[in-house]
Symmetry: C2
Subunit: 178 residues, 2 copies
DNA sequence: GGCATTTAGTTTGATGTCCAACTACTCCTG
DNA sequence: CAGGAGTAGTTGGACATCAAACTAAATGCC
């Protein structure tokens, strides 16, 4: 996109107009801001990942695999963790496989399941791209640590409310990694 | 999508794993949460708008027009305000025109410019869909008013930093509406 | 006035996501 | 152990967004 900045904040302006007409202006402004910031975060990280032949979705998938003990997860599990549609997992893994970053393997016990496994080049790419994303995120957020934590807490509240996870245990699943 | 909730927060788990390996975990968690919440907000509002034959993008365009004095704006102006690509404006206006909510008119003074004008049915739909969106947003955010304001302030800081607008004047452009 | 440059909008093509339908396999039940 | 129900993953189709190339009109400069 790369449009030059407006002399005013169009979302804040929309808020003012909205308030003149209706209730819920605060929610509207928040929602609209979310939309826009998502776009920003996505474009910044995608740009940082482009040299590696990755985008944010594929990067997340690789990182997820690298977090698992064996570097290997069933595709369905990946979809759950990344909170994306099974069809998207198929697409993502297709691309990663093309580039040689992962392989598809049969599950030893369950014939339905396909395991997705990080390759050695895949592991190397995770290492390097992780640094790139970190740099990009720092470039993006001169938000303070507290700001980030506050924002995350807020967003997490929303996600919990919408049923992303049962908030019984706040964070960690029973066992360690995988 | 509509997946049943996980027994833990996958993003919080990713944060833990990330922290074991690298810096920037807070930024990563915030970024990932943004991505997910955007998805939630979008799906909730789109669902609310479906009965009207609208989605969030088209709804925003209609609302923007309804805010303008004459109910009519050049397409380029719409793209600026909505912060979307010109090609997206074309697409959105195409759909709205099909449904009879807007018309395209020639600009009186500038032959290059196309004015997009709200029709009477369009105005009626804005009225009704605005209520629906408001209800949906309230359903979504049991976030307190303060939470919404805090969150918006944070996101706005980020947007300003990324060049969405020059932060000289904080909010309002020179003249009132339009 | 005439021609290069800029601006407005559309078109085309590449991506990416989701949904719905489908195949293949497993599990459960009688 | 046969058949129905559920689960894992893929495929095809719909849709949205953006980038780049293109057309048409306005602006500016000599």
């Amino acid at each position: 996109m790369a449009r030059r900045p407006l002399p005013f904040d169009p979302i804040a302006l929309a808020r003012v107009n909205w308030d003149e007409r209706s209730t819920g202006g605060a929610a509207m402004q928040f929602a609209t801001s979310i939309m826009r910031v998502q776009q920003i975060v996505l474009s910044v990280t995608d740009a940082a990942l482009k040299p590696f032949g990755l985008n944010f979705a594929r990067f997340e998938a690789l990182v997820l695999l690298s977090f698992s003990r064996t570097g290997s997860l069933p595709m369905g599990k990946m979809g759950e963790r990344l909170m994306i549609h099974p069809a998207s997992v198929t697409n993502i893994v297709d691309r990663l496989e093309e580039k040689g970053f992962v392989t598809r393997n049969a599950h030893p016990d369950d014939g339905r399941t396909t395991l997705c496994t990080l390759t050695q080049p895949g592991r190397a790419i995770v290492e390097r791209s992780l640094v790139a994303v970190n740099d990009a995120m720092f470039g993006l957020t001169e938000l303070s640590y507290d700001d980030l934590e506050t924002g995350t807490a807020l967003l997490t509240k929303l996600r919990a409310q919408h049923g992303d996870f049962t908030s019984e245990h706040d964070v960690i699943p029973s066992s360690g990694n995988s």
